[in-house]
C-alpha cells in the first residue's frame, strides 16, 4: 500500500512538472506571492522565453 501511494505521488509530481504547475509553485515561492491572475500573467511572461525556445521532438 505504501509503495502504491509512493508511486501515485511520483506520477502526480511528474505530471505537475510536465504541466509546469511545479514551475509556477516555485515562481510563487521565489516571489513570496500568492496565486492570482496577475501572478500567473507574470509567471507566463517570465516563462515565455524559456518555453518558446524549448524544441518539441520529432
Amino acid at each position: 500500500m505504501m509503495h502504491l501511494r509512493k508511486m501515485v505521488d511520483i506520477v502526480l509530481a511528474a505530471l505537475r512538472e510536465i504541466f509546469d504547475e511545479s514551475a509556477y509553485r516555485r515562481f510563487l515561492e521565489r516571489r513570496q506571492a500568492v496565486s492570482s491572475r496577475k501572478a500567473y500573467a507574470e509567471f507566463m511572461r517570465e516563462h515565455e522565453l524559456l518555453r518558446a525556445r524549448r524544441p518539441r521532438c520529432c
Partner: protein
C-alpha cells in the same frame, strides 16, 4: 535478491529474448503473435539497460556521485532545479516523444515487420540510447550547455556552425514533412478536419481559462480541454453526416496546406499563453494517455500480425517509398531507433533538472528505451490489420492509380488481393469516404490503432470513433510541433540575424517577429507545398529527406561525443560512440548519394528531373524539375555538412591521439555534492 538468483534471472531474460528474436526472425509463411515483438523488446531493452548502460556509466563516463550537478550548483528555482529522477524521466520522455516513432515504423512496415523491428531493437540499445545518455552527461558536466555550444568548444568553430545549420535544417524539413502527414490524413475528411479545427478554439478557451479563471491549474485545464476534444470527435461524426457542415469541412490537400501555413504563422506570432502553451499542454496530455492506452490495448488483445516478416518490396520497389532496406529502412525508422533531435533535448532543459550524475543513466538511456517501445507499438499497430489495407492506404495515386478499381487491381497484382468494395466497407467502418491514397503513415496507423482499440473496447460499432480519436491524436501532436518548431526556428533565425543588425535579434520587436516568422513558415511551407503537389504523394521525397537530416544531427551529436571521450583520455572506449557513428555515416552517405544520383527515377531526384525534362514541357513539369533539383541540392548540402564535421572532429581527435595536443576537455571544475554529503551523514 541473492546474487546467484540474480544471475539465473538475467540468464532467463537473455534466453527468453533470444527465443523471441529467433521467432520473429526465423518464422516464415505463418503469422505470429504481436506479443513476440513485445517480449523481444522487453528482454533486449532490459539487458541493454542493465549491462550496456551500466558499462558506459562505470567505464566510459565514470559517473561521479560526489560531483555536484548544475541543478544543485546553480539552483535558481527557474531553469536549474534539482528534481526527483522519476519526475525528470517523465519530463524528458514527454519532450522526446513525438510523431517520428509512430510514423517511421508504419512507413518502414512496407518491408514487413522484421527489418524495422530488428533495427529498433539494435539501434536503440547501441545507438539512440547511447547518444542521448552521453550527450546528457556531457551537458551536465558543462553547466547544461547546448549541443551547438559543446560542438564549438570541443570540436571547433566549423563543428559549431555545422551543428547550428543541422538544427535549423532539420527543424524546417521536419515541419514540412510532418505537416504533409496532417494534410494527407485530413484531405476530404470532414470528420477529421472538423475535430482538428475545433482544437484551435479549445486551446484558446484553455488559455483564457488558465489565465483568467484558474491561474496555474494546468492539469485541471488539460482535463477540461481533453473533455472538449472528446466532444469535438463526437461532434465530428455529426459534422460529417450533415451535408451543409460537411461541405465546409471537406477540403482539398492544397487548401489544407494553405490553412496550416497560415496557422503556423499565427501561432508563431501570437502570445505563447494564448495558443502555444495550452495546445502544448493538451497535446502532452493526450499523447501520454494514448500511448498508455495503446500499450494496454496491445497487451489485452495480443493481436496477430497479418503483415509478413518480409514483403516483396525489400528489393526497393515499394509503393510507400522507393529504395531498398539498406539504407532506407534505417533512414525511415528515424526517431524510433536513434534521433539527432533528442540531443537537443538532452542538452536543453533536462541537464538542468538532474540531481545526481548517476541519474543521467535512467533519464538519458532509459527514456530512449521507452521511446523505442512506442516505436515497437507503432509497428504492431501497422502490421495488425490485413496488409491489403496497409498498401491500399499508403500507396499514392501516382503509383497505384486514382480510381479505386484501378488501385485495387494494382495492389492485387502485387500479391495482396483486395477489391474496391472491401476498401469501401473499411472506409465506411471508420467513417471516411475513401481510404485509398492516404499516404504519410497517419491513416494506416489510425486504422491499426482503431482495430486494436475497438477489439479491446466497444467492438466494431465504435471503430469510427477510435479511428478519428487516433487521427486527432496524431494531428494534434504534429500541429503542436509545427507551432513550437516554427517559434524555435524563429528564435534561431533572430539570434543569427542579430549578429548582422541588432534590432533583428530582439525577440520582442514586432517587425522582427513578423519577418522571421514569415521566413521560417515560408521555408517549411515550401516543402509542404511541394509534397502536396507531388503526383506521387510527397512522402517518397520528403520523409527520406527528413530521415537524412535527423540522422545527420545524430551524426553531429555522436561526433561531439566521440571527440569528448577521446579528449577525456578514454580512447579505448571510443568504440561505444564510434560504432553507431560509423553506421550512421554509412547510412546517411548511402541514402543521400542514392537520393541524388540513383538512376531510378523513383529514388534519384536528378533521374526524376531528367525523366520529366525528356517528356513534353509543361508548367507543371518545370515546377517538378525545379523541386527535384532543389531537393538534390538540399541533400548534397546535408552531405557536405557531415563531411565537414567529420573532418574537423577527426583532425581534433588525431591531434590528441598523436600527442600534438594535450588531452583535456572543457568541463566545469569539480564541486562536491551537498546531496551526496547529506546522504553520507
Amino acid at each position: 535478491m541473492p546474487k546467484p538468483l540474480r544471475i539465473v534471472m538475467w540468464i532467463g531474460v537473455a534466453l527468453l529474448g533470444a527465443l523471441a528474436v529467433a521467432t520473429i526472425a526465423l518464422r516464415r509463411g505463418e503469422q505470429i503473435n504481436a506479443m513476440w515483438l513485445v517480449v523481444a523488446a522487453f528482454c533486449s531493452f532490459a539487458l541493454g539497460y542493465r549491462f550496456y548502460s551500466k558499462f558506459i556509466s562505470a567505464k566510459v563516463l565514470a559517473l561521479d556521485e560526489q560531483r555536484a550537478t548544475p541543478a544543485e550548483r546553480l539552483e535558481n528555482g527557474r531553469d536549474f532545479v534539482p528534481t526527483n529522477k522519476w519526475v525528470v524521466f517523465g519530463h524528458h520522455f514527454a519532450a522526446i516523444a513525438g510523431p517520428g516513432p509512430l510514423v517511421g515504423p508504419v512507413l518502414a512496415a512496407q518491408f514487413g515487420y522484421l527489418p524495422g523491428t530488428l533495427w529498433v531493437l539494435a539501434g536503440a540499445v547501441f545507438g539512440g540510447c547511447v547518444q542521448d545518455f552521453v550527450i546528457l552527461l556531457f551537458s551536465i558536466r558543462r553547466d547544461g550547455k547546448s549541443m551547438t555550444e559543446m560542438a564549438r568548444e570541443e570540436i571547433g568553430r566549423v563543428g559549431g556552425f555545422v551543428a547550428y545549420l543541422a538544427v535549423i535544417s532539420i527543424i524546417i524539413i521536419l515541419l514540412g514533412a510532418t505537416a504533409l502527414i496532417v494534410v494527407n490524413a485530413l484531405k476530404s475528411s470532414p470528420w477529421g478536419t472538423f475535430t482538428i479545427a475545433m482544437t484551435i478554439p479549445i486551446a484558446l478557451i484553455m488559455g483564457l481559462y488558465l489565465r483568467r479563471l484558474r491561474p496555474g491549474k494546468v492539469l485541471e485545464t488539460s482535463i477540461l480541454g481533453f473533455v472538449l476534444v472528446m466532444l469535438a470527435i463526437w461532434g465530428g461524426q455529426w459534422a460529417s453526416q450533415t451535408a451543409s457542415v460537411a461541405r465546409v469541412f471537406t477540403l482539398t490537400a492544397p487548401t489544407l496546406a494553405i490553412l496550416i501555413i497560415l496557422y503556423g504563422f499565427a501561432a508563431s506570432a501570437l502570445p505563447v499563453w494564448l495558443l502555444l502553451a495550452p495546445r502544448d499542454y493538451l497535446s502532452t496530455f493526450v499523447k501520454l494517455g494514448t500511448i498508455a492506452l495503446l500499450a494496454l490495448g496491445i497487451v489485452a488483445l495480443r493481436p496477430t500480425l497479418h503483415m509478413p516478416a518480409l514483403t516483396r518490396f525489400v528489393d526497393g520497389t515499394g509503393p510507400v517509398f522507393a529504395g531498398s532496406i539498406f539504407p532506407f529502412a534505417f533512414i525511415t525508422i528515424a526517431c524510433g531507433a536513434i534521433s539527432g533531435f533528442h540531443s537537443l533535448i538532452a542538452s536543453g532543459t533536462t541537464p538542468k533538472l538532474i540531481r545526481r550524475e548517476s541519474e543521467a543513466r535512467m533519464v538519458g538511456y532509459g527514456a530512449m528505451l521507452a521511446e523505442s517501445t512506442v516505436a515497437i507499438m507503432a509497428m504492431i499497430a501497422a502490421c495488425t490489420p490485413l496488409p491489403i489495407s496497409y498498401f491500399a492506404i499508403n500507396s499514392p495515386a501516382g503509383v497505384v492509380g486514382q480510381a479505386p478499381e484501378v488501385a485495387a487491381a494494382t495492389i492485387t497484382a502485387w500479391g495482396f488481393p483486395v477489391t474496391a468494395a472491401e476498401m469501401h466497407s473499411l472506409a465506411q467502418a471508420v467513417g471516411e469516404q475513401t481510404l485509398f491514397n492516404r499516404t504519410g503513415g497517419a491513416p494506416a496507423f489510425a486504422v491499426g490503432m482503431a482495430h486494436i482499440f475497438s477489439n479491446s473496447l466497444g467492438g466494431q460499432a465504435v471503430m469510427a470513433l477510435w479511428y478519428h480519436f487516433a487521427i486527432m491524436f496524431e494531428a494534434l501532436f504534429i500541429l503542436t510541433i509545427l507551432d513550437a518548431g516554427t517559434r524555435v526556428g524563429r528564435f534561431m533565425v533572430q539570434d543569427a540575424l542579430g549578429h548582422i543588425w541588432k534590432p533583428l535579434g530582439r525577440t520582442s520587436w514586432y517587425p522582427s517577429i513578423v519577418a522571421t516568422s514569415a521566413l521560417v513558415v515560408a521555408a517549411w511551407g515550401f516543402f509542404l507545398w511541394q509534397g502536396v503537389k507531388d503526383p506521387v504523394g510527397g512522402i517518397n521525397s520528403l520523409w527520406p529527406l527528413f530521415g537524412i537530416s535527423n540522422q545527420l544531427l545524430a551524426t553531429v551529436a555522436l561526433c561531439v561525443a566521440t571527440t569528448i571521450i577521446i579528449k577525456m583520455g578514454k580512447a579505448r572506449y571510443a568504440l561505444v560512440t564510434l560504432l553507431p557513428l560509423g553506421w550512421l555515416v554509412s547510412v546517411t552517405f548511402t541514402a543521400a548519394w542514392q537520393k541524388i544520383f540513383d538512376p531510378h527515377s523513383r529514388i534519384g531526384f536528378l533521374a526524376h528531373a531528367r525523366n520529366l525534362a525528356a517528356s513534353a514541357p509543361t508548367h507543371e513539369a518545370s515546377r517538378l524539375i525545379f523541386n527535384d533539383r532543389l531537393d538534390a541540392v538540399v541533400t548534397g548540402f546535408l552531405l557536405i555538412m557531415v563531411v565537414l564535421i567529420l573532418l574537423e572532429s577527426t583532425l581534433e581527435c588525431a591531434r590528441v591521439l598523436s600527442g600534438r595536443k594535450q588531452p583535456g576537455v572543457k568541463e566545469t571544475p569539480f564541486v562536491a555534492s551537498r546531496f551526496a554529503m547529506e546522504e553520507q551523514g
